[in-house]
Assembly symmetry: C2
Homo-oligomer: 229 residues x 2
Amino acid sequence: MKGAEPTPEPAGRRQRKRQKTASHLADVAFGLFEEQGYEAVTMEQIAAEADVAKATLYSHFPMKEALVAHRLRDEIVEGMSALADQLARHRSFVSRMQFLLRESAAWHAAKRTYLPHYLRYLHSIADTADGGAIEDSGSMATWNALAMMFRAAQQDGEVTRAIPAGQLAWSLQYLLYGAVTHWLLHPGTDLAKAFLQAFALLMNGAAADRPARVRKPASTGKTSPGSSR
Amino acid sequence: MKGAEPTPEPAGRRQRKRQKTASHLADVAFGLFEEQGYEAVTMEQIAAEADVAKATLYSHFPMKEALVAHRLRDEIVEGMSALADQLARHRSFVSRMQFLLRESAAWHAAKRTYLPHYLRYLHSIADTADGGAIEDSGSMATWNALAMMFRAAQQDGEVTRAIPAGQLAWSLQYLLYGAVTHWLLHPGTDLAKAFLQAFALLMNGAAADRPARVRKPASTGKTSPGSSR
DNA sequence: CACCTTTCTTGAACGATGTTCATAAACATA
DNA sequence: TATGTTTATGAACATCGTTCAAGAAAGGTG
């Protein structure tokens, strides 16, 4: 029951060994996290437990949050592939996406404690403009899947082709990010519901259904007197 | 030319003095930032320059990013009020919003260097679930303005009433946040354009204009008279 | 005015983080 | 096998953010 390996054969043996020790470190770290809580565990502790030097640990994971990110990224990737066939069973794009969002919400709820640290990590690599580091930043897995789904929906005529699928994907991702943030701040709210609402908004838009109904032909004064907020 | 005071009369004299020293500290910090760059300036340096103890500085601003946030929040608030009358000149909601987004994009471009730190601050107060701290977190100013605009648009019939204005406001905010993040990572892209595209997406949605055109007639024999919405 | 209470400031320490560097080991290539 | 490159090591280091007890200042009360 060791950590999964989303990257099958990296290249040389060196790279493989490096990834192996990385996974080992992440495993050890997660063991300590679940044992004593994330905050209570220090980097030195992790290094000692894994029997490596602190500098070695830092060469793999520059921050403590990166350990969380490593694990969660793996989980996302394998979760995605696990859901692949179930996704294919759904006929329409909307149905597929709603299923995915529900699953995603459940996953978020399960990993709730680690999400703040994961998000902090994602945010931290965003401003260190590393360029290359973003390519496999974990949220890329989600992004790729979403983009593929949007692209397929565009070809099926369910989604407009006027907007690139990639742009739709990250638009949805940021809407979901907002929902997660809100949910983390206000426990008890329904994350799945928020996800679905965000998706519905993205699909249908916020414009009034009937294009600018003739409200206010003159000074109105018609019905609905309560307009002051 | 001192820092503005968005909070006119807080309450007692004590509170006022506290806010005054806070503004003083932020001013001193910003002077050093522009002089030596954000990273190069340390908290001890700021405290020394402002002639207070380090603990005092930390009691006002728990992190270095909070100094940036304090200043930018003030700028946002006064910028909003400065734009209020210009906003009122625009007739339609879409026109108003596009104007606001263009101005906002220009402001972001001007403050570019500080944005990563500001965003990091916003993100940091999100997971410390302080509850009360969020109420005046600076992005609240933007959120309030957006929510009011959406509410007005709903009353004018330009925006659907099926979704609360507040929800629309933070949906847009997270879309804009995504655009800013993307822009910070990829300089040279047009932020104003991205803002306007995000807004257009929020308004019009991503669903295909013609509901499920008859692509792939084999599967569903339905002639699809367009009922998906 | 004298007194008490609350809040803020101060200085100094502290642990943890993240960084640095020279050295040694492991590996790849020839 | 010999050489060069990547990685691991151990130890030191600066800074950050935090903590604490004690003093100073503002506020309220008699």
